[in-house]
Amino acid sequence: MSKQHEHVDFSQFPNAEGHFGPYGGRFVSETLIFALDELAENYQRLSQDPEFRAEFDRDLAYYVGRPSPLYHAERWSREVGGAQIYLKREDLNHTGAHKVNNTIGQALLAKYMGKKRVIAETGAGQHGVASATVAARLGMECQVFMGEEDIRRQALNVYRMKLLGAEVISVKSGSRTLKDAMNEAMRDWVTNVDDTFYIIGTAAGPHPYPMLVRDFQSVIGREAREQHLEQTGKLPDALVACVGGGSNAIGLFHPFLDDESVAMYGVEAGGHGVATGEHAAPLSDGTPGVLHGNRTYLMQDEAGQIIHTHSVSAGLDYPGVGPEHSWLKDIGRVNYVAINDDEALDAFRKLTLVEGIMPALESSHAIAYAEKLAATMRPDQSIVVNLSGRGDKDIHTVAGIDGIGID
């Protein structure tokens, strides 16, 4: 690993303008600047407010069900024959993924700021469901923007959101997927900026979103660090997490950044293979640019147009990535790698059979890489893998690949 990061004080990032080195920032139209200022000021105040923090912690404990267990996957570790693999069980959270840690936090911000309406973008529907869930609980109006193409692919989550009282708005522009849903949510926010809170689902977007999403998700890494120390008496040797926008990964990584001995691996969606160009791996095969309010690595063509991405996992199917990951890549603190669709599907089946745990297809990318990595390590070493979500939502997709129709 590169040694360039040795003297970095990670707590100083982002800076006041929201920059992580050259990445991040605020690339939005003027109308939204006041709303971002308002959010940043409120977040700064509330994140120090004992009442707000207590309410967030209470909700995580009694509503989400935290702490989530750190589970030693002994049988799988034995089969691999290398390092001991521990799973951080974010799949056991209420609503089935890590997403809810962030939506609880942002909805609380909305409540303290007196906003009556929340909006969200969603790809696979997990963030939409998590947003609709917290909105239902707080009695807020909720509208979720979702690409027409994703609505077709994720009918179950669309119905879940409707049952939760949210309105799902079909986005028919551009590629009709997650990036276009985010464009449309931004357009709605510009129009209804006075009374609306935009709950962004990943650690991307204009400042302060990458910072506050990271902070809300960092509960994952804080717990995992403590649990690993408690169970083994030492820190893990490596961390592995999948990276779409990168919120579960930054949540796991951030509390360990100062622990020099801990290696980190962010796993992108390699789709049909990075070499084919049909993937969603901007850190592996993209270049820096500006999209959705921040500067970061992107999938783009030679004219700077954002290109279509591909992944079997809808939650990773995004052409950008959170700006902090771009920076952590450049300074060499985190290694970013890619896992193809086929490898992720194999891992999905493997973990289900060997441990009785069905991972989300997103998390299956991390599982697949962890298996490769573990095989190169010694049995007295350990890896923590973020099992960011459960696979129930993907059964339909996997059955389809198997040629089995499920209605």
């Binding site: 139209s29 003027e30 109308t31 939204l32 357009r187 999209l291 004219a303």
Partner: protein
């Protein structure tokens, strides 16, 4: 003196207001753009805002989003847009052309390279919707050094402090966004624009154009007395959306730009009154 400054000075002498149409370069097809630009000038346009197509035009309403998509079907790149401006300049040396678009295509070309090529092509200014002053320092400097203007948006939500900050970096003119919303929205509020204009005048002597929601002679002549120019985008682009490739091109261009001639008449009538 820059072309923009000259145009605003001449208009002020005549007591007239700038008419600023917006089209997306390459919409409905690249071969029509330069002819359309000339036709707009012939119909009374003082400045042309030429949209640079982008895959993710976050600040646009449905009408202009579709225009970006139509242009991208023809793979119109920033480089080609600059070529179009150069072609326009072969027969028009006076009408300012401002490129309006999003950060990424410019960033991808490289700001320094862009400034050089844009200057050569005869571009007068750049308005990057998603690049507020905080992120624009280096770009503004490069544009200024190349003799071009950096144009910024001001919104109904811009505080006094923001207006002062934007005004300090802006040149050419300020673009006042008339409403909270996307382009082509229908809820133009004259009183709110009047209030915004008062705030802007306290901090800047630059000419101010108002855009978003101006769609015909009536809305344009209500706004024009408050500012130095009106921008007409979606209403014009909407006419291009109905383009029929089988029909006579000249006739279709004439039909599309007749809106600009109507608005010209309406705002001149108010100025004379």
């Amino acid at each position: 003196m820059s072309r923009l400054a000259k145009v605003f000075e001449q208009l002020a002498e005549r007591g007239a207001k700038a008419l600023v149409p917006y089209i997306v370069a390459g919409d409905p097809a690249p071969k029509h753009t330069v002819s359309l630009m000339h036709a707009l000038v012939d119909s009374g346009a003082d400045i042309i805002e030429l949209g640079v197509p982008f895959s993710d035009p976050m600040a646009e309403g449905p009408t202009i989003q579709l225009a970006h998509e139509r242009a991208l079907e023809h793979h119109v790149s920033l480089s080609q847009v600059l070529d179009m401006v150069a072609e326009f300049r072969q027969t028009n040396a006076d009408t300012p052309v401002v490129l309006m678009g999003y950060t990424n295509p410019v960033e991808h070309m490289g700001y320094s390279h862009f400034a050089e090529r844009a200057k050569q092509a005869g571009v007068d200014g750049l308005l990057t919707v998603d690049m507020p002053p905080e992120e624009a320092g280096e770009t503004s400097r490069l544009l200024r050094d190349a003799g071009m203007d950096n144009i910024f948006l001001l919104a109904p939500t811009s505080s006094d402090q923001r207006v002062a900050k934007v005004a300090a970096l802006a040149s050419g003119y300020l673009y006042c966004v008339s409403l909270k919303g996307v382009t082509g929205a229908g809820h133009l509020d004259i009183d709110s624009v009047r209030e915004q204009m008062q705030r802007i005048r306290q901090h800047s002597d630059l000419p101010v154009t108002v855009g978003f929601g101006i769609k015909d002679g009536e809305s344009a002549s209500a706004i024009a007395p408050l500012c130095e120019g009106v921008v007409v985008g979606s209403a014009l682009v909407d006419r291009l959306a109905k383009w029929d490739n089988a029909a006579d091109t000249d006739k279709q261009i004439a039909e599309a730009v007749s809106l600009i001639a109507d608005i010209r008449k309406a705002i001149d009538a108010v100025a004379d009154a």
